[in-house]
Every structure is written in C-alpha cells, then in structure tokens.
C-alpha cells in the first residue's frame, strides 16, 4: 500500500491506496493535483533522512508528504 500524508492541525491525515488498483491510483493522482494546486509541497521519503520534492504524481512513491504553503513567520 502507498500512503499520502497531509499535514494538518490534527497532526496529519493519511490516505492509503493500492498502486496496483488503477482506479485508486487515479484518485490518488487527483488528490495530488488538488493539493499541489492549492499550494501544498509534495515530498517523497527516500530513506536515511533524505527526501525529494515531487513536481508530478509518482505512483511508485510509497510515502508522499504534503506540506502546506510556507510563509515567513
């Protein structure tokens, strides 16, 4: 199962989907576009503390984290 993690005021909200299920992948891609379109940054965990920003949906990403838009504090 792959997981999309959205940071929010509850800590985070998670959506799991089966990468082998075409319908679930399409829904996950729709969520990806909706969130990044709203200003969220999508990042994929690479392991050992490393990560990379995803500019487009990656159906092979086991864990994608969505970070709300950054602002100066």
């Amino acid at each position: 199962m792959a997981t999309q993690i959205v940071m929010d005021h509850t800590g985070d909200t998670r959506h799991q989907f089966d990468p082998a299920d075409a319908g679930a992948v399409a829904e996950a891609e729709r969520c990806f576009k909706e969130l990044t379109g709203a200003g969220f940054t999508a990042a994929m965990r690479l392991g050992d503390g490393k990560s990379k920003v995803l500019k487009s949906f990656d159906p092979t990403a086991e864990e994608t984290l969505f970070i709300p838009r950054l602002q100066g504090g």
């Binding site: 503390g49 838009r69 504090g73």
Partner: protein, 134 residues
C-alpha cells in the same frame, strides 16, 4: 411590515450568523494543536529524520540540516516559529530564520516542513523566510 423591511431584517440576521460562524471557525483554527496532534506529528518527524538527526534531537532537542543549494548548516530547534539558526563554519549562530507552513500545525510538523524545505529547496525557502540578527 413591508417587503423591504423584511429583506433588510433578513440581511442583518444573515450577516450576524455569518459573523458568528467566522469567529467560531477562526477560533477553532487558532487553537493550540492537541496533545494527540503533537504526538502524531512527533512520530512523523521521527520517521523522516536521519539517524544522526534523531540522535541529536533526542539528546539536545534540536537537529542540524545542510542547505541543498549553499551547503550552509542550519540548526532547527524544537518549536513552531523563530526556531532556525543559521550557523557559520565554526558552528556559531549567524542569524535566526522564521519560515513556517500555513495553518496551526504542531511543532514537529513545522520542524519537518522546515527540514524538507532547507534540504531540498533552500533558496526558495530563504526567500520566504524572515531573518533576524543573532
């Protein structure tokens, strides 16, 4: 009562309801994150830290990251705002940075967002951040 008066009263009532709803929603969003939110965010942060960063955070309540573009070292202290120290090559604090994700997020979520930002899109993050002298 005329239709005009009725419509006027209705508008006033709707406006009052909207104001009350706005206050309720704003208050909910401004409320400090719950303990449960902090715990979830803490677990998420732990999963994304390197072993060295996790060890540093365990013992000192902060961890260091290296900027993706300039290779500058930053120290992210536990907190939600004004919690990033830019360090020089000797480890001295040069300035304090503040860049946070929108929303009322738990401290660990803010720290994870700061880590990913500095480690993957440092220049963009610095352009957003507010900077204060050390």
């Amino acid at each position: 009562m005329t239709w005009a008066q009725l419509c006027g009263d209705l508008c006033v009532a709707l406006s009052a309801c909207a104001s009350v709803m706005f206050v309720i929603v704003t208050a909910e969003r401004m409320r400090d994150p719950t303990l449960e939110a902090e715990q979830k965010a803490h677990a998420l942060l732990r999963a994304w830290l390197s072993p060295e960063q996790a060890q540093q955070y365990n013992s000192q309540k902060h961890f260091d990251v290296i900027g993706s573009d300039t290779r500058t070292r930053y120290r992210i202290r536990h907190g939600r705002m004004v919690n990033i120290d830019q360090l020089d090559s000797a480890g001295n604090r040069v300035c304090v940075l503040c860049v946070v994700p929108e929303g009322n997020l738990a401290a660990s979520d803010c720290m994870l967002a700061q880590k990913i930002a500095l480690e993957t899109f440092e220049t963009k993050a610095l352009a957003i951040a507010n900077q204060r002298p050390a």
